[in-house]
Amino acid sequence: MSRGIPALLAAAGVAVALALTGCTAAPDPHPSTPTPTVQTADEVAQQIRDTTVPTRSLAQTSGMLDGVDDVTVKIDVVTLDALPDSTLLELRIATASGEQADISTFQFAVEPFLDTRNIGIVDTADGTTYRPFTYPNARDVDGQNTGCLCNDVPTSTDGTGILVSMIMPPLPAEVSTVDVVIPGMEKMTDVPVGRS
């Protein structure tokens, strides 16, 4: 996904000069350390167009999704990054068959939520499970219809897969691997935690 943009070098004035003369630094692919660059509109347009959907996999599991259709899916951990105040988890959900299929499901949450709020990361040292932050919606009268810092399960996917992302509480500094637990799927163990 190449979220990260090159670090602005030590002297901001140098960066301004570089930007105004059309010179740019090479992109830093790490998503957790972006610092703004200042470039021409054409260069920024090109950088946006040059981003690609990430294909990496830190771990993989598979299983059946209980939805409108029962669909066997593969789920990859694409990103697991410890941020200064939180943890970013990105997963890729793809059909095992490679065919496009409807995968709407409550399996990773609970009705009426079609999101991924019950996916967790487990610090195996003490068994603590971290799940995505939630929040009350503005018109949530009874406190039950909460929002989530997690994406909905995509309506449909294919063999290439769709990313879903979520923000969870921060992990302790000493944690270097976690288990990733997804309801109805085999647990992914010892998944490395990225730290910048």
Partner: protein, 351 residues
């Protein structure tokens, strides 16, 4: 929509502000050429959406900048082959949110340090953000189209944030600039290199900050208890599988330490009424589950009450059977999470 606009003056001061500098670094220019004007880029990503066909959305977060009374997220979406941005593939906010149809309001700023999520401001029924029609493309030049969302004023100590975009992706570590980017402002659609005219200052000042600022709930669990902590309320879900034998309501020997920890939290920060609620999974009859959940809630109250020393606290109990599940009863993990007794209480800030 009646949105009033303000022009952002193009000055070198703004370039300096964008870069976090305290003083202008360049002399002011007159009418900048959009093709050569400097443009910031703080993050970029591509994500796929599979609807009838496959769609790839390419987006850049240009800047998160402070303005009077508020904060602006500027972003750019690359056009597809027809020159339009695929804004229809951007998710709309939940119906539980107040945003009007076609408002591209699914943009949030995450502020974990202050336990807050900031959403676009609403003012007089209007979203202070770009609408789908504003992002309809910039014609033949193929440039990404620039959109914006005006959010509440961020705490002064916040230097970087995570931006959620379009219901699909998060951009961590985006710097918060002290002033908006410089450049020419134009009406939508805005090609990259120019900037959208923002609502005027009075409209921004009238924005509903309370509505746009949502408190975050932190969700952390251990094998015995799942604790949801919001700024003014804590809910602890004790795992029935740990506290009770199957189909029984007598607390076992492992329960005492778990309940002592709950009491400690109430003594430390709790206030008002402590609600104790029993729940089961969906296995079994309603009558059995209702009775079991009620009996378990009473057992927890009987054990908890003597441990709570806080003088202002009162207790209520209820059993809900299989109602209000927190997880899908179709999986073993989900059923386990649903078998629980929750203890919830207001924290001191709410008193």
């Amino acid at each position: 929509m009646g949105r009033r606009r303000m022009q952002v003056t193009a000055t070198a001061m703004a370039v300096a502000g964008m870069l976090g500098l305290g003083a202008p670094a360049l002399a002011a220019t007159s009418t900048p050429d959009p093709d050569s004007s400097p443009v910031p880029l703080a993050g970029a990503a591509t994500y796929r959406v599979v609807l009838v066909d496959e769609i790839e959305i390419q987006v850049g977060i240009l800047a998160v900048a402070r303005i009077p009374h508020a904060t602006v997220v500027y972003y750019a979406i690359a056009p597809n082959q027809t020159g339009d941005a695929d804004v229809f593939a951007m998710q709309q906010k939940s119906l539980s949110e107040p945003f009007p149809a076609m408002a591209d309001a699914d943009i949030d700023i995450v502020d974990v340090a202050h336990s807050a999520l900031y959403q676009p401001l609403m003012s007089d029924g209007d979203c202070l953000c770009s609408y789908a029609g504003d992002l309809a493309g910039t014609g033949a030049n193929g440039r990404p189209t620039v959109g914006y969302a005006v959010m509440p004023e961020l705490p002064a100590d916040l230097k970087t944030v995570t931006v959620q975009f379009g219901g699909h992706t998060f951009f961590p570590g985006i710097p918060v600039d002290d002033s908006p980017p410089s450049g020419t402002t134009v009406d939508a659609p805005v090609p990259l290199g120019q900037w959208p005219a923002l609502p005027d200052e009075a409209t921004v000042a009238a924005g509903d900050v309370k509505q746009a600022t949502r408190p975050l709930t932190t969700r952390v669990a251990d094998p015995v208890a799942a604790t949801d902590t919001a700024p003014t309320r804590t809910t602890i879900a004790l795992a029935s599988d740990v506290l009770f034998a199957t189909d029984h309501s007598d607390l076992n020997t492992k329960a005492q330490s778990a309940i002592q920890k709950v009491a400690d939290k109430i003594n430390e920060r709790g206030s008002g009424t402590v609600s104790i609620d029993g729940y089961t999974d969906s296995v079994g009859t309603d009558a059995h589950n209702d009775a079991l959940s009620k009996a378990r809630a009473r057992s927890v109250r009987a054990a908890l009450k003597p441990l709570v020393s806080h003088p202002d606290v009162t207790f209520t109990t209820a059993g809900h059977g299989e109602q209000d599940p927190v997880a899908d009863n179709g999986t073993a993990e989900g059923r386990q999470l649903n078998r629980r007794v929750t203890v919830s209480f207001a924290t001191e800030e709410e008193r």
